[in-house]
């Protein structure tokens, strides 16, 4: 998406002042040029607010692979480009010094994190999954009438989350857990 004059035009339309700003600006091309706008040269992407389930459309403005501004997308029919404080703060989910960018490992009984290569983490996690499945997998069980039933169930691993990830990711997680045999399989909707 390209930075939208749409944004302002819509904005105008969305308030009682249709075209107001257009007029304001056209009256003063020099002024307009004189005051620089940080998102003028930025790329705009269509986002959806990651907080509540209203699903406000957002415009994410970036420069040099960095987010410089996030505001509402005025085209969004059910939100008209408005945001709540959380939506308006979305930028700090990405640009935030508290955010870890390296995989971390905490050994049993240790009192500190250790940075680890991401590949090492995957190998280790996969090993834990594999070992638990091999050790605790239940293939067959007797039903209430004592007949053998194939249950192919793994109770030693539980999976929780998430209502904060995308549909595609939810599906992939369901697919992984269910095909792997996991039955403790939940997310926030339950609480």
């Amino acid at each position: 998406m390209s930075l939208s004059r749409r944004d302002f035009l819509k904005y105008g339309g969305a308030t009682a002042t249709a075209g107001a700003l257009g007029a304001g600006v056209d009256m003063l091309p020099v002024e307009a040029a004189a005051v620089s706008l940080k998102i003028k040269e930025a790329k705009a992407f269509a986002g959806v607010c990651p907080y509540c389930a209203v699903g406000c459309g957002q415009l994410i403005y970036t420069r040099d692979n960095k987010i410089i501004d996030i505001e509402g997308n005025p085209d969004t029919p059910h939100t008209l480009g408005r945001l709540c404080p959380k939506g308006a703060a979305t930028i700090q989910l990405s640009n935030n010094p508290l955010r870890p960018t390296k995989a971390l490992y905490r050994a049993p009984g240790s009192d500190k994190w250790e940075e680890k290569p991401i590949a090492w983490m995957y190998d280790q996690i996969a090993k834990r999954y594999y070992d638990a499945r091999e050790k605790y997998f239940i293939t067959k069980e007797k039903d209430k009438d004592g007949h053998d039933v194939t249950v192919n169930r793994l109770e030693a691993i539980a999976s929780l989350g998430s209502a904060c990830i995308d549909n595609e990711e939810c599906y992939l997680l369901s697919k992984l857990n269910r095909t792997f045999g996991i039955v403790y399989h939940e997310h926030q909707a339950r609480v």
Binding site: T15, L21, E71, G72, R82, P85
Partner: protein, 258 residues
């Protein structure tokens, strides 16, 4: 001069969500600020060099038309006064009025004398220790000069903050007051909409559901510089008195002399 732009904050539509406060912080890249206990939800207690939009929360028992408790929510901001104390006070010309009628501080010119801070009837202008300059709502000067509305007005979910040409908004506001009066909000009133009223009218004006004092706003704010002539004349008066006194004391013509 372009047609005057304004922000109309209709507190009867405010749900106190503070999207405006955050949207302002985000766009203007204002820093982190440690909140203080205000007794309720409101933070921060006052406008600061890092808070240009501030939602006020006021519990008003019995103020609802049906006599129930009212929780008055108001998104406050720099009023961009038509007669602005800060602008008159500024000795450097850093504070100026834009062609849209808004009042802005040129951060490259301000030298931090703080006379504007003392001269704002609303306690809006604040001093920033890091930059050594005065800060306040810019009416998103960069945005309005590029066809975008102020960040706060754009974010507002309920149209409590409306942005546009002043004359149009005032007309709208007057209608809204009538509607609200009809709904039983007997104290519904506009604050700063009348350009014949105090400070020549505010370019960020408000619709209130109770008396201004309830929102901690002055009933009739005045331009601080209104007395400069009187005060100067009185000073000259006392100069003359002490001057005469001294002349009498030193009067020596003829005696000795040259």
């Amino acid at each position: 001069m372009a047609r005057t732009l304004a922000m109309f904050t209709d507190t009867s539509l405010c749900i106190g969500c503070r999207a405006c406060q955050v949207a302002c912080k985000q766009w203007n890249e204002l820093g982190l600020e440690v909140p203080e206990w205000t007794g309720g939800y409101q933070n921060h207690a006052h406008f600061t060099d890092k808070t240009y939009r501030l939602v006020r929360f006021v519990e008003a028992p019995g103020a609802k038309p049906n006599g129930d408790l009212a929780w008055l929510l108001m998104s406050d901001v720099c009023k961009h006064c038509a007669q602005a104390g800060c602008l008159d006070a500024c000795p450097t010309g850093a504070i100026y009025r834009t062609e849209f009628g808004t009042v802005n501080i040129n951060q490259d010119v301000c030298n931090g004398c703080r006379y504007c801070v003392a001269s704002c009837p609303f306690g809006v202008v604040s001093f920033n220790e890091q930059t050594g300059t005065a800060k306040k709502c810019t009416f998103c000067n960069d945005r309005i000069h590029n066809g975008l509305g102020p960040a706060c007005a754009k974010a507002c979910p309920t149209d409590s903050i409306q942005f546009g040409f002043r004359d149009e908004l005032v007309a709208k506001a007057n209608k809204r007051v009538e509607t609200l009066k009809g709904m039983g909000f007997k104290d519904a009133q506009l604050y700063g909409a009348d350009s014949g009223g105090f400070l020549g009218g505010l370019n960020a004006f408000f619709l209130l559901l109770a008396k201004p004092a309830t929102y901690n706003l002055p009933d009739n704010p005045k331009l601080p510089q209104r007395n400069v002539v009187v005060d100067s004349l009185l000073s000259i008066g006392s100069a003359v008195l002490v001057g005469l006194g001294a002349m009498l004391a030193f009067r020596e013509r003829g005696k000795g002399g040259r």
